[in-house]
Amino acid sequence: MEDNKEPSGPSSPGSKSAGGFGLFGSAGPQYSKTELAGVPLTGMSPLSPYLNVDPRYLLQDTDEFILPTGANKTRGRFELAFFTIGGCCITGAVFGAVNGLRMGLSETRNMAWSKPRNVQILNMVTRQGATWANTLGSLALLYSAFGVIIEKARGAEDELNTIAAGTLTGVLYKSPGGLRGAARGGLVGLTLSGLYALYNNWDRLKGSSPTRY
């Protein structure tokens, strides 16, 4: 009788087991671990529906964004145009300023630090900065204009637009140099825009999925 009492003592608080060993006793053959956790799982699978989601529900759907009427998912060429042109202007200005500083310093190497030297260096900086900004800005303007025209004419947006716009920009920019100059400019434009298109689509061409959206 004493042997019977000991195991059944601690089983009184929580366990609903009919006879046999209790909660703190060793598991008997008729009780699984899940039942001993205190939750009656008769008729339910041991997988929790909250922790084990069907992977089909986890799709990254591209249609998950709601767009206002008339808007498209990515920005068109015309909206990106001002940003491109402004960015090229500012880049050209910075590059030209640095170049002007280098040239000014090297040309006035033999002068002492005086006001004329500073003025000359400043003049070089501003002139080079302005020239490079204007050049890069007008190239960006031509490229954007061609891009918008080609996109409107074709009706589709593609990497072909980029490459064609770059080539045409090179041709037009170097056209004062005659036919050979135009051909050379077109080749440079083709190379640069081809590299840019390649850089944009590198992941897609390699077969892996892009990590940025």
């Binding site: 940003f83 491109t84 042109i85 204007n134 050049t135």
Partner: protein
Amino acid sequence: MEEYAREPCPWRIVDDCGGAFTMGAIGGGIFQAVKGFRNSPSGMNHRMRGSLTAIRTRAPQLGGSFAVWGGLFSMIDCGLVKVRGKEDPWNSITSGAMTGAILAARNGPVAMVGSAAMGGILLALIEGAGILLTRFASAQFPTGPQFAEEPSPMPASSFGDYRQFQ
């Protein structure tokens, strides 16, 4: 009317710089085309060549000056927005004045004041036109729901006495 989508402040500077360059280059291009055409020797070949040369040399320069004006204006505007913490027409007017002053800095203080006044007045006109346009555009739509004057059932105690005295 479409939604007016401007970039947030740091990128607005690049956008405005590009927009100003485009305006200056295209406007300057047209202007210089006509000017180059007229200032060339007679003969269509000469005139076309002169026109193209003028466009090629002068249009980027005009675009560049516009770009400097636009970029500097936008930079000061964004700085004022950040310092003041609000966006209103006064930011634009002050930015225009300061841009004019900075760009005339090499010509001495009197020229700076004059340029600042010109820039401020120009921006005040532009902002005023913008505000008037907004008011006209909103006045075109019918007014909001009218609240009809309904005689509310008020208690007849002391309020009724007022009417007798009128």
